[in-house]
Symmetry: C2
Subunit: 200 residues, 2 copies
């Protein structure tokens, strides 16, 4: 009997509508103004229905955060595999990271930005763990074949990620938007300088 299947199908349909509406509201008005009641209005259901799909508001945000980390990790892996030399890998990955951030501001702001996540979750949420693993392994490879193999891997990893995040964060805050070529050059200079620093 297809009754149970239909119910499940409907349930997932509503779940999808919740996420879809949440995303729409967030992109139109920002994550800050997203509220459960707005989502309820959008999906034309009452508020408690949402709580039968998600434990709380944070769980909805976490859904997108995980999605964002999955997407970013995919981009990084794609670029990484297209390049053999670890140093070039890092430079290209930095560029991919940069592009992701500015082509998916909504994701990035949620992942690293204004609010809750990315603190205790870095090691508990699998999607984030995968992301950090990719970062660590790439940096490790670059260090391994460098002239400073005794370099502390985690320190270098931290510095690399920090620089990336910092570049993106400040550029996001900046209102007086520079031309994209400028921004690209900032990134390239900084990362190449850093990679050289690791290498020698």
């Amino acid at each position: 009997m297809g009754v149970a299947e239909r119910k499940i199908r409907h349930k997932e349909q509503v779940r999808g509508a919740i996420l879809q509406s949440a995303w729409k509201i967030a992109t139109e008005e920002g994550w800050q103004t997203l509220s459960i009641r707005k989502i309820a209005d959008a999906i034309e259901y009452s508020v408690p229905v949402i709580y039968s799909h998600f434990e709380n508001k944070e769980a909805i945000l976490l859904e997108f955060t995980k999605e964002g980390f999955t997407l970013l990790t995919q981009e990084l892996l794609k670029v990484k595999e297209s390049e053999q030399e670890p140093g070039c890998q890092l430079v290209k990955m930095a560029k991919a990271y940069w592009n992701f951030a500015f082509e998916n501001k909504e994701y990035y702001q949620l992942m690293f930005g204004l609010g809750m996540p990315a603190c205790e979750m870095v090691n508990t949420v699998p999607e984030m763990k995968t992301f950090t693993d990719v970062m660590i392994s790439s940096i490790s490879a670059a260090i391994a074949q460098s002239k400073n193999p005794e370099a502390e891997v985690f320190m270098k990893y931290h510095a690399y990620w920090s620089i990336l995040h910092g570049l993106v964060a400040i550029q996001m805050i900046e209102k007086s938007a520079y031309p994209d070529e400028f921004k690209q050059k900032v990134l390239q200079d900084a990362i190449e300088g850093f990679v050289k620093g690791i290498g020698g």
Copy 2:
């Protein structure tokens, strides 16, 4: 007649109590949980009294943000004046920036962190403008006497500040706290590498 003076004195006393209580609550429970009602309770006045001293909640936060930028700028200038060579200046300023962030987490999180400010205010609030001016002038000096005088000043300034902010931001998020020596070394390596990148 000292009646007007006494009134003003009392008014500023209340204003001080508001800021003092707000700071106490923020340091004890975090900026996120700070509320007007909590402040009102703490100063033993009713809520609307606070609105006769500050236009809204954001104005209270802005007060501390400005204070933070003033303090940070002072630290940076102090270090800057103790060193002639522009390259060394940048390295020392980075260290001072770093120390400020971790010795004044409440300030830093408010200045760059989780929420509202630092977006449109960078050029409108004088205290922030002063800060960015110090950053720009220092970097400009380093570039001027470098072998790449044609370097775009603002790009380099952005990269420098970005790296600093990124290093701090990621380290603040990180739970598995590395020893302080490690962190210091991360900073030093990254900044020295960057300054070398500017210089040659």
